[in-house]
C-alpha cells in the first residue's frame, strides 16, 4: 500500500484569537474549497470534510462541500471525515457519495463514524439510547447497498426495502467505506470483524495510544477470516507543518488552545491548554502531527512503524487557523513531507518484502 497523506477540515468558523476577527460562513466555504484545490495541486492524496451541526462550523453537510471540491480538483480523493452515520439515512448517504463519485470520476470515499458529538441525534429525531444499535444497523445497510442492487433489507430504524433500486451506482467497482474509531476496544473489535478499513482518531496523548486498538482490530479481523495485512489503517489527528519547529509551535498554539477551549470540555466547560502542555503534545513521543517538515516526516514514519498505518489525515484548521497559514502548511505537507514519507515507506516495504 502506497502511503497516502491528506488533510481534513470541519470548516471552522472560530474567532481568530490573534486578530479577534471571525470569518463569515461564506468566506469559510470558499476557503474550504481553496484548501481542497491547493491540496490537489501539491499532490496530496486525500481531502476530508467532517460533520458538525453547529454555527461555529460550516461542515454540517460534508457531501455538498465535497461535491464542490470535486469540481475544483482532479486527482485528490474526497472523503467524509466522518459521516455521522447513526443519524443518517444510509440510502441518502449512498446516493450522495455515489454522485460525488460520478462527479469526480471515482474519487469518493466515506468514513462512517458514530461522531464525537451527538448534536445530530435530536436534529434528526434519533434517541441517544439507541447509540450502538443505530450505528450497527445503519452500517449494515450501507454495506449492503454498496454490495448489491436492487436490495431487499429490513431493520429496526427505517422502513424495509423491497427490491429497492438505489441509484446511482459507483463510478467504478465500489466506493471505499472506512470506519472511524476513537479507540474504544469494542469499536476496534467490531470494525475488525467486519473486515473494514479503520480510520483511527487521536486527539491528545502519547503516539503509542492506539497500540491496543490496532492489536484488537487485527486480531478480530483475523478471527473473522479477513487477512489483516490487506486492511488499511489510517491515523487522523491534529497538526500543522511549519517553516521551522519553532514557527510551527508559535503559529499552531493559540488556535489549537482556542479550539480545545471551545470543544474539549471537563465539568461541562472548556479549560485552558497551557503552552507547556501543548509543547508536550507536539514532542516526538506524543501524537500531534505538528512541527517542521522534518518533524512531521519523523512522526508519520513513527506512526507507520508502530501501527502499520498507510494513510494519515491531518486537521490543520482547528481553532480557526487563518487561511494564509493554513495554505502554507498544506503546501509544505504536499511538497516537503509527502514525497519523503512515500519514498521512505516504499523503501521499508521493499526491504521487508
Amino acid at each position: 500500500m502506497t502511503f497516502e497523506i491528506g488533510i481534513m477540515t470541519f470548516g471552522e468558523v472560530t474567532e481568530d484569537p490573534v486578530t479577534g476577527r471571525t470569518p463569515s460562513p461564506r468566506q469559510r466555504v470558499r476557503e474550504t474549497i481553496e484548501q481542497a484545490r491547493l491540496a490537489d495541486q501539491v499532490g496530496l492524496d486525500v481531502f476530508g470534510v467532517g460533520e458538525h451541526h453547529r454555527t461555529d462550523f460550516v461542515g454540517s453537510a460534508p457531501a455538498i462541500l465535497l461535491a464542490a471540491a470535486a469540481e475544483a480538483t482532479e486527482h485528490i480523493r474526497l472523503t467524509s471525515s466522518v459521516t455521522v452515520l447513526s443519524s443518517e439515512d444510509p440510502v441518502r448517504v449512498w446516493e450522495q457519495f455515489a454522485t460525488i463519485d460520478l462527479l469526480s470520476a471515482g474519487r469518493a470515499e466515506i468514513i462512517a463514524g458514530r461522531g464525537s458529538y451527538t448534536e445530530s441525534f435530536p436534529l434528526f429525531g434519533y434517541d441517544l439510547r439507541d447509540y450502538a444499535d443505530l450505528f450497527r444497523e445503519k452500517l449494515d445497510l450501507l454495506l449492503k447497498i454498496r454490495e448489491r442492487n436492487p436490495l431487499t433489507w429490513s431493520g429496526r430504524f427505517r422502513p424495509p426495502l423491497h427490491d429497492a433500486d438505489i441509484a446511482p451506482r459507483a463510478d467504478g467497482d465500489t466506493i471505499p467505506i472506512w470506519v472511524g474509531v476513537g479507540g474504544s476496544p469494542a469499536s476496534a473489535v467490531s470494525t475488525g470483524r467486519l473486515g473494514l478499513p479503520m480510520a483511527l482518531a487521536l486527539l491528545l496523548g502519547p503516539v503509542t495510544y492506539h497500540e491496543q486498538t490496532v492489536e484488537l482490530y487485527r486480531a478480530a479481523a483475523a478471527q473473522a477470516g479477513h487477512d489483516p495485512a490487506t486492511l488499511p489503517i489510517s491515523i487522523n489527528t491534529h497538526g500543522y507543518v511549519g517553516r521551522t519547529s519553532q514557527e510551527a509551535r508559535e503559529t499552531m498554539y493559540p488556535y489549537f488552545a482556542k479550539g480545545m477551549m471551545e470543544n474539549n470540555h471537563q465539568r461541562g466547560q472548556g479549560f485552558p491548554l497551557s503552552r507547556p502542555a501543548f509543547d508536550a503534545q507536539v514532542s516526538p513521543g506524543s501524537g500531534l502531527l505538528a512541527g517542521s517538515s522534518q518533524e512531521v516526516i519523523d512522526k508519520l514514519l513513527t506512526y507507520h512503524e508502530l501501527y502499520g498505518v498507510s494513510r494519515a489525515l491531518i486537521q490543520m484548521g482547528f481553532g480557526g487557523m487563518p487561511q494564509k497559514e493554513h495554505l502554507a502548511a498544506i503546501e509544505r505537507l504536499g511538497t516537503e513531507v509527502a514525497p519523503v514519507v512515500r519514498r521512505e515507506t516504499a523503501t521499508l516495504a521493499g526491504r521487508t518484502a
Binding site: 447509540y131 469494542a186 469499536s187 473489535v189 467490531s190 484488537l216
Partner: protein
C-alpha cells in the same frame, strides 16, 4: 427474579443485579460470565433485579418486615452455590439499592459461600471499586470471594454486548481459578 433450570445436578448460580437499566452493560457482562461457566459445568441460574423488587423492598428496614416475595429473593441469594454480585459503579461505589438488599441478608448466611464480584463503569479508573467497595462488603459476610474480580468499561461494549477479548480472558481466568471448588459445591456432589 428470573430462573432457568438445567437438566440434572447443577450448580445453583444466583445473580444479584445492581443495575436499574434494561438491557444493561452490567448484565451484558454477566451474560458472558454465565456462558463461560456453563461451558465448564452444568449450572442453574437465577437473577434478582434489586431495582425491580418494588416498594415492599425499598420501604422496609428490617428483615422481619419484608413481604413473602422479597423474602424468597433473599433466601435465594442466601442459598446460592455461587453468588454473582454485579453492579454498575454509582457515585464511586455500589448502587444504594444493591446495598439495601445486602443490608437485609442474614449476617451469617453467606459465610463460606462463593461470591464472584463483577462491575461495569464509564472508564478504567472505576475498576478498584471491586476491591475497595465490593470485596469488603463480602468480607463482612465472611464469604469466599473469587480472587479475580471482573471489571468492564463502557468502551469494552457495543451497546450491551461485551466485545473486548481481554475482558473475556479475565472472566475465563476468574472461573478457571475456582472451577474445582465450584464442582464440589454443586448439590449432586455436596450434601445440601
Amino acid at each position: 427474579m428470573i430462573a432457568t433450570s438445567a437438566a440434572g445436578p447443577a450448580l445453583r448460580v444466583v445473580v444479584v443485579n445492581g443495575s436499574p437499566n434494561r438491557p444493561s452493560k452490567t448484565m451484558g457482562l454477566v451474560d458472558v460470565i454465565l456462558a463461560t461457566l456453563a461451558e465448564m459445568m452444568p449450572i442453574q441460574t437465577s437473577r434478582i433485579d434489586v431495582y425491580e423488587l418494588g416498594p415492599e423492598f425499598t420501604g422496609v428496614v428490617e428483615r422481619e418486615q419484608v413481604s413473602p416475595g422479597v423474602e424468597a429473593a433473599l433466601k435465594l441469594a442466601e442459598n446460592a452455590d455461587l453468588l454473582i454480585a454485579a453492579i454498575p459503579v454509582f457515585r464511586g461505589s455500589y448502587p444504594g439499592m444493591f446495598k439495601h438488599f445486602f443490608d437485609l441478608v442474614d449476617q451469617y448466611a453467606l459465610a463460606g459461600r462463593l461470591v464472584l464480584l463483577a462491575a461495569t463503569g464509564g472508564g478504567e479508573h472505576h475498576a478498584l471499586v471491586l476491591e475497595h467497595a465490593l470485596r469488603p462488603l463480602f468480607g463482612f459476610f465472611q464469604a469466599l470471594t473469587v480472587p479475580v474480580a471482573v471489571f468492564a468499561a463502557a468502551a469494552d461494549f457495543d451497546g450491551t454486548i461485551l466485545l473486548n477479548p481481554r475482558v473475556h480472558g479475565r472472566i475465563q481466568m476468574a472461573l478457571t481459578d475456582v472451577a474445582d471448588l465450584l464442582r464440589t459445591r454443586a448439590p449432586a456432589t455436596a450434601a445440601h
